[in-house]
Amino acid sequence: MSAFSAIGEEREIDRNEYTPEIEPQPTWCPGCGDFGVLKALKGALPEVGRTPEETLLVTGIGCSGKLNSYLDSYGFHTIHGRSLPVARAAKLANPGVEVVAAGGDGDGYGIGGNHFMHTARENHDMTYVVFNNEIFGLTKGQTSPTSPKGHKSKTQPHGSAKSPIRPLSLSLTSGASFVARTAAVNPNQAQRILKEAMEHDGFAHIDFLTQCPTWNKDAKQYVPYTDINESDDYDFDPTNRADAQELMRETEDKLYEGEVLTGVYYRDDERPSYQQEKQQIGEMPDEPLAERYFDDDYEWERSYDSFIDKHK
């Protein structure tokens, strides 16, 4: 019998279950795009049939890192840039738990960029939401890795000399098997994409455009937008890597020209997840490792029986 009865429980789930009864006063500003992520997540989780107690939401630091303060599930608010390594080990330790990681563009593409690249490469079965507002919000408006070239801020008084990072292209090149962009101003698409991402067996990365009305007033509110999967202007197959690559580049360029393109850009449903790869080569147990510590009947191996002979 499982020690984790919340996992796999079949029942109707109300989206309000994810709302803390005594909700902490959100520290987000009025009009902040982060509310859009929270709403979409509350909508998508019941749709995929995941209850609060079989969900672990792992966040980084920044305004986005507060997400799990306002979503009632198991939560781990980690340190700046490190949500992914915590999240992927959690998934390896107990694959039955739905693991969602989230953080800002500075958190994920800046300080945590190395983890982003490697988590995508390994194709861990989890969802990663990057709140992309093109700015450092909580520290009051400094230039971020996705700020446009020439962006002026207190720390870049002459305008940034750097071209912004290309989050979608980076994700695809690194090995993510599901890559999408959505926007807070598009709640229905956001919820649909989140649902697809969580259902996907592999690393699903969503670049989530979240407007910052306080520190990035110049930035577009990400309207109007075009959904590349719906629009007649785009005859597009997200399973075609070459097409995806081309359209991602176009999307990244156009954002800074004032045109917002969104949708699912790439998905590879054939590629095994990291957990499957590891199990295939005999480096991960079939039964969740976390269960073993609650199993009173498990026969724990001893080093004396397994290894002592070679030292004699």
Binding site: A3, F4, E21, E53, V86, S303
Partner: protein, 630 residues
């Protein structure tokens, strides 16, 4: 120095099979009934460079390298650098012979491979041989090996020569080779060893050996283990089934042993992108209820500072290993030092709330590893094992029964779903994971996937349900509770009595040390007492929380004490003075930081000249620092 011991040094280049040959040799001597201890010296290079391993063997227990050695097998460095670079590197080919002469005892034996080494390249070689009464065996091991197998097998030929000279029966070595070598190379190796053995008997008179192997007998079956083996096995016996790491010398040894063994135990090993990720993964796995560890050496451990603080604040059980090497920065990657003590104690922002253990011996490394997991999971606190390149690589015999223990997979104060139902929750059902009270400061935890257990873990200060809170009263309550754990842990450790005192109880003088210096200090203490100096030693194996009372009692019982440690800034003495707040005027220091561990002789000399006689330190490689105000 005991006459009844063999200290055999095999020297060559990295890649010449020095390590594996010496391991087999040590094991053969152990099986014959002797106590053995190895000391390894190697450069940070894949091929070439001066490498040696010493195997010390005696009928009596040995727990340290010796003073110098008495048998040199100089194989020559087959990977020596191009002679054109000689102006900078010196003649590398001859180094295995040239660089080992200073420490060879009078009357010792030299066997060198004349196929690779030409003593004419060494200044004053003949004079030194005569002066020191060394017995030289000039053997063309290279040709011998080449004729009957492959050139690389000259290490086996050298072992054959050693056996002939010291009187070790070849069968003892053969038996081990049969266990360790594949069929294809086994036969030529055995032939080569036999030929070399016969050759010595034909060409030299070995009936009156210059250096012979002692004979001994063990009371019970022994195993040959390193500190790294012991730490890994301790972790496995505590039910650790998850490790994450990034390679770095010398931590790589524990990481490798775990990675090779975990899959067959149904565990998981992850080699990841950097040490920040490694520590974060261990935290992630532990958060889910799994027993997990990570670790590194100096620079890699520096990257773990922030995740370590996260584990402290979220009270996630975590075991981290820190295998010290000579620093700062990249320092001397393959050389031992104890200079990361302060780094391990204090790294990460805020008040540190952690446990730090420093095992002194291979047997203790197993204990410390088990204890680390017990404390980490029982008290929900990061626990570190700090050791060094010396302990990680030294091999010694330990009774096999030492490891014949029951496993302990207990994950401490983690609730089941039934227990969770009885616990306090907020109105909407959030579990009070961080309650202000809690016995010994521990508030029981739940793990994700459990019904009735959801909470928020955060690196911010937080209220009982885990929500971020900057309320002053809550802050103080949470800090005080976390601090309370350290008092409870100190009490637990006092009950264990892991501090090791050595020497006469009523001694006049004391030596205080920590970690891997234990064996060497104890040998020095024995010699000092034999020579009429009344001295005892205390080895501290727990650095945080510090055993203040035990150290105070020890220091109160002596007139003066010398603190022995392998670093340049007397970090352990500083820690002791900080924790005691007294006794500063009676603590002087003997330090060594040249990349080589202490020899017992150096401690004897340092103690005698400075503490007993108030004289000048003779020209050895240590440094004396007087007590404050002296």
């Amino acid at each position: 120095m005991s006459d009844d011991e063999l200290i055999w040094r095999i020297a060559g280049g990295s890649g010449d099979g020095i390590a594996s040959t010496s391991q087999n040799f040590a094991k053969a001597l152990m099986r014959s009934g002797l106590h053995v201890f190895t000391h390894r010296h190697y450069p940070s290079r894949i091929r070439g460079g001066h490498t040696y391993v010493e195997v010390r063997a005696s009928a009596d227990p040995v727990k340290s390298r010796g003073d110098g050695y008495n048998f040199l097998l100089a194989l020559g460095d087959s990977f020596a650098r191009n002679p054109q670079e000689e102006a900078y590197y010196g003649n590398e080919e001859v180094k295995p012979l040239a660089e080992n002469l200073d420490e060879l005892r009078e009357g010792g034996v030299i066997v060198y491979d004349s196929g690779l080494l030409d003593p004419a390249e060494i200044p004053d070689f003949e004079e030194r041989v005569e002066e020191n009464d060394w017995h030289v065996y000039d053997m063309d091991l290279r040709s011998l090996a080449r004729e009957q197998g492959r050139e690389v097998m000259r290490n086996t030929a050298g072992v054959g020569v050693t056996c002939a000279i010291t009187g070790i029966p070849l069968e003892a070595i053969e038996e081990l080779m049969r266990d360790a070598m594949p069929e294809k190379i086994l036969e030529p190796n055995i032939e080569i060893m036999q030929t070399a053995y016969d050759l010595v008997n034909e060409e030299y008179d070995v009936d009156a050996p210059d250096v012979s192997v002692p004979t001994g007998e063990h009371d019970e079956e022994q195993v040959l283990m390193s500190g790294s083996d012991a730490i890994a096995y301790g972790a496995i016996d505590e039910g650790c089934r998850f490790i994450a790491g990034y390679p770095m010398t010398p931590w790589t040894e524990v990481f490798t042993i775990m990675s090779q063994n975990l899959p067959e135990l149904g565990g998981i090993s992850e080699q990841v992108e950097d040490e920040i990720a490694a520590a974060a993964l261990a935290i992630g796995a532990s958060h889910m209820g799994v027993k997990a560890m990570s670790g590194s050496s100096g620079g890699g451990f520096a990257l773990m500072g922030e995740p370590l603080g996260l584990a402290e604040m979220t009270e996630t059980p975590l075991v981290l290993i820190e295998a010290m090497r000579a620093g700062p920065s990249t320092g001397m990657p393959t050389k031992p030092e104890q200079a990361d003590l302060e780094h391990v104690l204090y790294t990460s922002q805020g008040d540190s709330q952690r446990v730090v253990l420093a095992p002194g011996t291979v047997a203790e490394a197993y204990e410390a590893s088990r204890r680390a997991f017990q404390l980490a999971y029982e008290y929900q606190i990061p626990t570190m094992i700090v050791y060094d390149q010396k302990l990680s690589g030294e091999l010694t015999n330990v009774p096999a029964s030492h490891f014949d223990r029951e496993p302990n997979p207990d994950i401490g104060m983690t609730l089941t779903e039934e227990e969770l139902a009885e616990q306090p929750h907020t109105g909407d059902g959030k579990f009070h994971r961080f309650q202000h009270d809690g016995e010994d400061g521990v508030s029981p935890r739940s793990v994700p996937g459990q019904k009735g257990g959801r909470f928020l873990a955060t690196g911010n200060e937080h209220n009982p349900a885990g929500h971020i809170s900057e309320d002053p009263d809550n802050r103080v309550a949470q800090m005080d509770r976390r601090e309370r754990k350290l008092d409870a842990i100190r009490a637990d450790l006092d009950d264990d009595g892991l501090l090791v005192e050595h020497g006469p109880e009523d001694a006049d003088y004391g030596i205080l040390t920590f970690g891997s210096q234990q064996g060497t200090v104890e040998e020095a203490v024995d010699r000092l007492n034999d020579d009429g100096t009344s001295v005892k030693a205390l080895t501290v194996a727990e650095l945080a929380p510090y055993p203040t009372e035990a150290v105070r009692v020890f220091l109160d019982s002596v007139d003066e004490a010398l603190v022995v440690e392998m670093n340049a800034s007397a970090q352990f003495r500083g820690l002791t003075q900080k924790e005691l707040g007294t006794h500063g005027e009676m603590l002087s220091s003997l330090l060594k930081y040249n990349g080589n561990p202490f020899e017992p002789r150096e401690i004897v000399e340092g103690f005698t000249t400075n503490v007993v006689e108030d004289g000048e330190l003779p020209g050895n490689e240590t440094k004396f620092v007087p007590a404050a105000g002296d």
